[in-house]
Assembly symmetry: C2
Homo-oligomer: 506 residues x 2
């Protein structure tokens, strides 16, 4: 490897060590930090973030990138370099541009603003008071537009923001995918609504934390989560965080009267963790930016696959339902597998995105995508957001929004300046279905394997095709390589249609 590249790897690894220290501070804050430590913790986080920024913008990185021929326009650099070296230059150039193009002033103003807006949003949601939140949202929008202008001068601002989460995507490319998806989801929802609703009342029977924890531990084992490289804890909102290539931690939460919350959170986060633990673009690039996920949506494809395609699938429970009943005994003694499977796949339009099933979830995301694009472009005024939200909910989900707290104030994302993030959730489902179909061609007996407790075959396939590449490919390149064609929502739609035809008998 050329000397300049070796030095770049070294500089990048240092940056990542700092990021992992920050991840520990964050993990601890969510899982077990004593409550009064919060002020000091924010000072500790600020110091680490400052250090991370200083390491990320060292001019030496820019100089080395230039020497190796990597520019913002042509990030892959010198064509004589090896493919993995060029991929490394691309992700590094991308990160360096992102970290250096924003002025320190703007970064600071954004940090200050979001930290003020956060409690304002909590209060507004609690009091169902959109008017009090509106000026804050205006301010965030102004900052987001400024960020977009710094990062991509002359480009449509929302395109620049989308690219932060899903490299290579634009409003137009996502709109094209979502417009096909939208009609198909509405159609499936219509068929489901024409049938009798399933009974999931037994899912609400009380099951203590001890038994729920035993179920989560068992599920992690079945999915082959290596505990010598990670752990499970409890937090208010489940998450996955990476403290090192051999230290990936997940959390779940135990709701006494709804065990599916912990079960499927655990499988979801395990999916994220398996991806993180499988990132391996060659030893030369271990611990660098290349050993990171291809995108947020690709990440989500892994969590959704294990949660939904495996964890809410027939094959899995054919082989594992008896063990689940043992673990929660006596609560579900005598319950049938088919009843369980139908119940955990119940579809019902509701106001809250995070409670949504696999069909309506996509509609929640399309709604947010369309509204945030309009907000950023200015086509939609902040004051008109509640009306627009409620109208779109009626149109897409066929239900009325109770109030703004259950409507346009429900999500944290906009108050946290995460415009452009929402589409990743839905793209994740689409990627998952497309990968799933490709996998079934390679492993035609996958159902029998999963039923027999062999999840290792699926994991090995994912490791080989998706995980190990890390950030070597843009998401669009990756889906082409793995499945032979560009992202196409029809795979997800037929997966849903097959599944719900069976669940609802239409």
């Amino acid at each position: 490897m050329r000397e300049e590249l070796e030095r770049l790897v070294e500089l990048d690894r240092e940056k990542k060590i700092v990021a992992h220290i920050g991840a520990l501070l964050g993990w601890d804050q969510e899982t077990g930090m004593p409550e009064k430590a919060v002020d000091e913790r924010s000072e500790q986080l600020a110091m680490i973030q400052g250090l991370a920024h200083a390491k990320a913008v060292r001019p030496e990185i820019g100089e080395l990138l230039s020497k190796l021929g990597s520019t913002s326009e042509s990030p892959l650099g010198d064509p004589e370099l090896a493919a993995d070296e060029r991929a490394f230059l691309r992700v590094l150039r991308r990160a360096y541009d992102r970290d250096t193009k924003l002025s320190a002033d703007l970064v600071e103003e954004m940090a200050r603003t979001t930290s003020l807006v956060q409690p304002a949003w909590v209060k507004a949601r609690k009091e169902d008071d959109f008017a009090s939140f509106a000026p804050h949202l205006e301010k965030i929008l102004g900052l987001e537009r400024r960020v977009a202008t710094c990062l991509g001068p002359g480009k449509p601002p929302y395109d620049v923001l989308l690219d932060l989460y899903e490299p290579g995507s634009t409003e137009a490319s996502i709109a094209q995918v979502f417009s096909r998806l939208r009609g198909d989801l509405v159609k499936i929802l219509g068929k489901i609504k024409s049938r009798a609703q399933v009974d999931d009342s037994f899912l609400h029977e009380a099951i203590g934390e001890g038994r729920q924890r035993a179920v989560s531990d068992w599920l992690m084992d079945v999915l082959a989560f290596d505990r010598s490289r990670g752990r499970l804890d409890i937090s208010a909102h489940p998450f996955t965080t990476t403290l090192g290539s051999d230290d990936v931690r997940i959390t779940t939460r135990y709701l006494e009267n709804f065990i599916p919350s912990s079960m499927f959170s655990t499988m979801h986060e395990t999916g994220h963790a398996l991806y993180e633990l499988g990132l391996a673009p060659g030893a030369s690039f271990a611990g660098t930016e290349l050993a990171e996920a291809a995108s947020m949506a690709i990440h989500e494809s892994q969590s959704r696959m294990w949660e939904n395609m495996v964890g809410r699938g027939e094959a899995f429970w054919k082989g594992h339902f008896h063990k689940l009943v043992d673990l929660v005994s006596p609560t579900w003694d005598g319950l049938g597998r088919e009843d369980f499977l139908r119940a955990v796949n119940k579809v019902e339009p509701s106001q809250i995105r995070t409670d949504a099933d696999e069909v309506t979830y996509g509609l929640h995301i399309i709604l947010r995508f369309e509204l945030e694009a309009d907000l950023i472009s200015g086509r939609l005024a902040v004051k008109d957001l509640p009306k627009a939200w409620n109208a779109k909910t009626r149109e897409l989900l066929g239900i009325e929004v109770r109030d703004d707290a259950h409507g346009c104030l429900q999500d944290v994302h906009w108050s946290a300046a995460l415009f452009g993030y929402f589409p990743s959730y839905s793209l994740g489902n689409l990627y998952a279905a497309q990968f799933w179909e490709a996998m079934r061609k390679d492993l035609p007996d996958i159902d029998a394997r999963i039923e027999a407790g062999d999840t290792a075959s699926l994991l090995a396939w994912l490791r080989d095709r998706i995980h190990k590449a890390g950030g070597s490919y843009l998401p669009g390149e990756l889906v082409e390589r793995v499945t032979g064609h560009a992202l196409d929502p029809s795979h997800f739609v037929s997966y849903l249609d097959r599944k719900y035809a069976r669940v609802y008998g239409y």
Copy 2:
């Protein structure tokens, strides 16, 4: 406050934020880190230690100290400054000198050597092979002498090392205290040996982790450990660590067949934590070096007081024994309080320091103090250590050492280059007894209070007299202020004599 002082406070706070981040990395490693994360964690720790060092040796600190008149010889600085300001300058000058006088080379060589010697010691102890450890110990001794020469050129090396842990102490000052202590301990031990041994067999009955945890939680509550500012976890060796002025964490361990291990570890570490949580030398100095313990021995006085004087005392169990029996039920149903109290105060010379009772513990320390002083000075050759150790064990404790693994290889300290640390343990007991006696004059009804569950009175007294001052006084100054006279082992000796006359009926 003068501008230079304000800036010094700011610089010092930054240093401490870094130290607290490092403490989290260390805490996590001992309590829950996945095992394969160990290599990456050491890189994270190295980065934080590097940052801490860089913050500690900033020339600006030295310049500001000089401007304020603080020198190595006259650290308190400008006499016109307020008392707390001068105390701050003293602790800061002390830290700055310590951190700047050692060359980067020496620090690095020490880190490299101890990290190599550590596993060599583990292996030597496991295989009872002192010969293989001897060259490592030689190397550590050489480095310790170099450290001493850098920090205190011209001074006796062991004095310089002792001063690192117990500021103001010397070999002569400690030898004077220990020589009086030694004879008295041997005398008490003789009286105990003349009586029938107590029966503590019931302490070895199995009690599950759940019940032991309930006992530890209860003890922390009784001792008023504020859980919003700390927590309890499990680790192989119990410890206390400070992640912030509002985040002090303790650990314990649960041995199924010996509940006293978790009970008294929890009380011991709670004592350390209460001290840390009480450090409060005024708001201007919050989060600085002045808000740290006066010394290791003063720290130990707090842990030992809660563990032994309270936790192994009659008053406490008069009021709390029934609750303990409830919590471990049915294991000790029917057990009498007097039997329990005698059992947890059983005295028996043994080879291992960490298993020692209150009487023989001091003899273990005196042995180590005398031997390490001789090793540093060169009066004792490394090759002669085992013989010297075994002879001194015979002389002080009246027992034979089984082998070097249970003899001179038993402790981690020397392999970790902690020469000068051992005396702090015993000084802690002496300070504790002297403080305890002073407290009893102020609170003559303390026994009745403790029996009634009022530990707050004792804590308030400790807070006011010892904790809040932080590092404002040298340990020698502190004991004078609190008790009216210099450290005197007779308080500890009469405390022991009174207690064991009752336990053993002599």
